[in-house]
Symmetry: D3
Subunit: 163 residues, 6 copies
């Protein structure tokens, strides 16, 4: 059985993430979506909120688990016997950063392979940062996120409840 | 069982190709190396010669098959129930072309995913064209190819037996 | 009245070209589609055939003219009092080449501006070369070209009538 | 009559901005320079100061207006019946970010087109950030900005009057 | 006698920096490693600590000096009669930024040339930021830095002694 | 004494080449311009003609030699005790190809360093191919080449004397 991990900040999860996740599920026997905790970043949603949004988003997928990690990614992969780290590759600027991370991860754990997948081209323009910006201006983001994420974004920006 | 195809011209197969192939084997249950026949290109080695060199190169690998194809790649993938097309991604210039091919293949067969893998960074500089050029100048290419390929390259350029 | 020229080889015209053309029409008062004749290239369709396919493709557009040119592009632009040269920008590899041509054209005629437009992202993967390749394999390309181009491509490859 | 908007932070306006603006004026009937207010950024010059510097810089141009906006760019464009958003494209790193913004803006308002223009190559190296850095070191930036901007930069850094 | 300067933040110095430095020494008669002080950045190591780590790292090299500068780079180069500024070029993202800086420096001092050198490909993935991140997770970074840097990184993160 | 080689096809030599050469002369004690003979390419000018044009172009430079080579570049560099290979880096597309060649040359001869220099930005758009194209259309190329090259280009295209 081949397991892959799909790491990210998911602040919040978008349809672009889900597109990549569906492709990963078609390729691997199990995919662990791993929510990264970075103490240096201030996300819009707390780890608990992001986890809840992720769980809701993947509730109809099979062979998917969700986990949180706050250490070195390759160590998390090793503990879970993962053979691959999934990364979405949308654009050139992704490429450079991803390339560098993949090379470093290979140096640290040569038996774990970074697997790059491309989303549908309609998600080329989409990332969590753009979704947050649009929501901040009151733009409806139904096309880009799940209904629950859409609802929570409205709550955040209507009530100004950003932590 | 998850099958992937790894297409290429392999004129000739290099250690960079084998590095990617080994990674694909770690991820998939079966990998079909597919030798492309392009009537518009004039390879150094005939299809028969390239097939022989490939067979020799992968003789110690498990779960690998070799095939020849001269049609549309995604149709070949479909006939073999492959879920993925493997592509090596070494550099930026690869990225653009590969991105375009992957998008087109997705348009033609959305259920088959292009999976990009990165070779060891020591193969960043390596491709079949550079190997042919070095061999043409009489440079030893032992570091870059299998012993049999090395031998055949010498024969080609010593005897001038290029077709 | 602001005139722009939209140069290309159009071998054959695709829906990606038409997407850019429609954007140009929204911006300029007149757009002259200029079919380039390059004696060093061997197109699939003759200049006459490409012209016919272009005329058919733009027959419902207003403020569009079609012309043939075989000299220096900026001189053609000047004779037609064009203020701009339209170029589609789909991907990074386009960018570099286009940038260089734009700089040279600016050097030759500083009063004519290169205007870069982006097609709908669904045409990112599309160019004439890919269309020709798909048609050669017998793939239907209805999604990518006009009905007349589709028909002519079938004629070319069924009858082998390539000049 | 075709209107375009030319958005930016202009902190401060440089000769590179003016070069792009002059090209936009040659193509469109009216150009609205739109000064963006981003509450998350701390500019060197206040919005009022940047507006004053912009007004002075464009005082000899015809068919140019200046406006401030703090919402979604495409909504501002719509209210002003603009057919185009002008963006300068100097380098590859511009390209990626601009591409993504253009795709998102097209998604939000398909009738407004992002038009990329290239500045004279002598402004390739020029942006507001570099101008601020040079001025901070006491370097004269007469070649890069208007006399008034040059004067104000000296005031800022001589008196340490940064807000 | 040809002198070059090799500027950087060196927070901390890595084996990638030393690889570039060795190449510079092979080309120039004297190389001045210049430690930049940027009041806007908060480095992990103080200027004094970075200087000490640099001195230790280059103690066996000939024709190398170390200096600190906090002004305009080209002025420092001029005072030291340097004919060149050395920059390492590892990846595409380096390229764009470096290109822009090189163009600006050429504008400010046309007699000083930016010389780009490539490190060994095994250092493609390496920069000071990645080293700091790995050390923060307790990963051993012996392969990437000198013994003294390794020791100091452990002290920083074990004692939490970050200033 | 530090020697560098500056290889190229120089078909024909342009002011962009000379700009790079002048920078190389400022850095190295001797520069050998090496004219490559590639039997697979059909240049516009014969090797003899290109050599003559190069000799004329560099006649006022000191510490410059011209040579022809038709083998492996690094072997030529070794025979001449060169410490560096000079390459001009104008644009991104240069970068990728040059990076790959530099990596391969380092693999073949680690003691010879590829040194990348940037031309004046006014030569960003300039290369021999563009010069040939412009001359073919009868455009005056005085701004881009030496008087002798300009004269010879006119002869080539007026008399149709291309070999």
């Amino acid at each position: 059985m081949k397991t892959a991990i799909y790491p990210g900040t998911f602040d919040p999860v978008t349809k672009g993430h889900l597109d990549i996740l569906e492709r990963a599920i078609a390729i691997f026997d199990k995919v662990i979506v791993t929510l990264g905790i970075n103490p240096n970043k201030k996300p819009l949603f707390t780890a608990e909120e992001r986890m809840e949004l992720l769980k809701d988003a993947v509730k109809d997928y099979k062979n998917v688990e969700i986990a949180v990690f706050d250490g070195l990614l390759v160590e998390f992969a090793r503990k879970n016997n993962a053979v691959a780290i999934i990364r979405g590759l949308r654009a050139l600027s992704d490429f450079e950063y991803e390339f560098q991370m993949a090379l470093m991860n290979k140096k640290l754990a040569d038996e774990i392979h970074t697997v790059f997948l491309m989303p549908n081209e309609k998600y080329t323009y989409l990332n969590s940062s753009i979704v947050r910006n649009l929501a901040q201006f009151g733009t409806d983001v139904t096309d880009f996120v799940t209904p629950l994420v859409n609802e929570r974004l409205k709550e955040k920006f209507l009530t100004g409840n950003t932590h």
